[in-house]
């Protein structure tokens, strides 16, 4: 697949000397959903703002659809839609007028049929003549998406689209994103909700302190880095791990009622069979057992901690 967005050695230092981005390189493929995951202040918004033209890079370049965002800003920006993190809307204007304004701003001729279709998809059509101040928070967020889509962009940036949004609405938003992907729109979203990245992204990039620490196919990342845990519930609680089991680096669960064994799924041997045999030999009686896969969250926390 070809890249629709190329970020090349992008660096951004603010006037006070703070380096928000440290030579970031990133290739975004056409049609994918890329989630940029990072803690607050990691540089997610700065990265998006710089790609979209709101912030001027200190050095480096961004190419969108073959257009340099600095030298050829019109070509590049025509391809980009941006949904900002904050709900920034003119409160006294109607939904339709606001969306129409956005389309015009991008130099596209008026096309109300197209805009009404967007509003329908976002369940906003019956509110098209309402003033924005009359809408709920969730609806306002969807108005921002409608504005970003009004000029038919090929790349959509969603900066924390579900920050402060209730669970139901978050699921709605995920459906909207899935529909957009089906329409062929490339989507880059930032989030600090790991479950969000896990639920909708094709690839996940982890960003911390202005650097991309890792960027990988989500499934691959989880498979490669994912650790699994085997939890053995004991019939009789233990106080300490028997010496015979020392080689397994087991942890004792709450109140000694279980033993936890962490193993690597990509390892040649998981060691489960021998562990179970050794448990029996040590005279421990099993009541139950379960395995659990570590989530993106564990990977994320692990990586960010390492660089801290």
């Amino acid at each position: 697949m070809s890249s629709i967005v190329s970020v090349l050695s992008l660096r951004k230092a603010y006037a006070d000397g703070f380096e928000a981005l440290k030579s970031v390189n990133l290739e975004i493929e056409e049609g994918e959903i890329l989630a940029l995951l990072g803690p607050n202040g990691a540089g997610k918004t700065t990265l998006i703002s710089t790609i979209c033209g709101i912030t001027v890079p200190t050095s480096g370049a961004v190419v969108v659809g073959g257009f340099d965002t600095q030298a050829d800003f019109r070509g590049a920006r025509n391809l980009i839609g941006l949904v900002p993190q904050e709900i920034n809307l003119e409160p006294f204007e109607t939904v339709m007028n606001t969306v129409r304004f956005s389309r015009g701003l991008f130099g596209k001729p008026r096309n109300d049929a197209y805009l009404e279709n967007i509003l329908k998809k976002l369940s906003l059509h019956d509110k098209k003549d309402s003033k924005i101040m009359m809408l709920s928070g969730g609806m306002k967020r969807r108005v921002l998406i409608a504005k970003a889509l009004s000029h038919e962009p090929r790349v959509l940036f969603l900066d924390e689209p579900t920050a402060g949004v209730d669970v139901e609405l978050r699921k709605d938003m995920w459906n909207v994103v899935a529909d957009l992907k089906a329409d062929g729109v490339t989507i880059i979203l930032t989030t600090h909700y790991i479950e969000e990245a896990e639920a909708i992204a094709d690839r996940v990039g982890i960003i911390s302190k202005g650097e991309i620490l890792l960027i990988q196919d989500k499934a691959e990342m989880m498979a490669q880095m994912g650790k699994k845990q085997l939890v053995v519930d004991l019939a009789v609680p233990v106080i300490e791990i028997p010496a015979a089991l020392a080689a397994y680096s087991l942890e004792i669960g709450p109140e000694g009622a279980s033993l936890i064994y962490t193993y690597d799924t990509k390892g040649e041997r998981t060691g489960i069979t021998t562990l179970l045999n050794d448990l029996q030999k040590a005279g421990l009686q099993m009541a139950d057992m379960q395995t659990r896969q570590s989530s993106l969250e564990d990977i994320f926390v692990g990586l960010v901690k390492e660089t801290a």
Partner: protein, 253 residues
């Protein structure tokens, strides 16, 4: 050139004006009427004539200028400050538009609004005093140029302002005194010589003088000087705006 974008910004800004049409138009009409009642009738009846013109008619160009300058400045500064305040400016900065297009949209709308108000005040004036316009085309040209140049100034103030107080600061502390002391209600020749010299440093004098010339054919300063002053003022504002967008001052980090 992205003309669709210019038209979009212009329409969006004008929509704000028409949404609040009553307060946009009623307040200037009311305040002008009050000026006519107080200065034109109550005080003016004792002044008789200034430079051969009845005082009521003499203050018409100054009154229009006073309103147009303050309205153009406040409309344009609010027009660009509001998106900054609301955060909606992100859209302008990420759209395929350059500084000229943004300026044309916002300043064009602000200039149109103030032009409307200027014309309404002129019409209101006809109800109070007898006036004839000696050079109607020059009058319109001066009016339009003033609307544009003060809208440009307002646009700069709106970009500069970091809060609502600052937004009011320059119009209140600089523009209003300059306009009042620029001969809106009197002829510069009525002042003592020292003050006449000092007054000549007030750029507004040239604008009001030129505008008054277009009504009555007489002026405090030569018409060429008036034109040069307004051209210089417009040019200076344009250069400032070009610099602002080139450096991203106060808008693009």
């Amino acid at each position: 050139m992205n003309f669709t974008a210019v038209a979009s910004i212009y329409r969006f800004e004008m929509a704000r004006f028409f949404r609040t049409i009553t307060q946009s138009l009623v307040s200037p009409v009311l305040s002008t009427s009050l000026y006519f009642v107080v200065f034109g009738t109550a005080i003016g009846s004792r002044i008789q004539e200034v430079e051969g013109i009845s005082y009521g008619a003499f203050i018409v160009p100054g009154l229009i200028m006073l309103s147009v300058m303050t309205q153009a400045t406040s409309n344009a500064s609010f027009g660009i400050y509001f998106p900054k305040f609301m955060g909606t400016i992100y859209e302008l900065l990420s759209a395929p538009v350059n500084f000229l297009e943004i300026t044309l949209g916002y300043v064009g709308a602000a200039a149109t609004k103030s032009l409307f108000i200027g014309i309404i005040i002129l019409i209101t004036a006809f109800f109070f005093v007898d006036i004839t316009i000696a050079h109607p085309f020059a009058m319109i040209a001066f009016l339009v140029l003033t609307c544009i140049s003060f809208s440009l100034l307002g646009f700069i103030i709106g970009i500069w302002a970091g809060n609502f107080e600052q937004l009011q600061l320059i119009p209140l502390l600089i523009i209003t005194p300059l306009v009042f002391l620029g001969g809106s209600f009197y002829s510069v020749t009525m002042l003592p010589p020292v003050w006449q010299t000092i007054t000549m440093f007030n750029p507004v004098v040239y604008l009001i003088s030129g505008f008054r010339w277009s009504f009555f054919g007489t002026a405090d300063v030569s018409i060429g000087l008036s034109l040069a002053a307004i051209a210089f003022f417009t040019g200076a504002c344009l250069v400032a705006i070009w610099w602002i967008f080139r450096t991203g001052w106060r808008i693009r980090q």
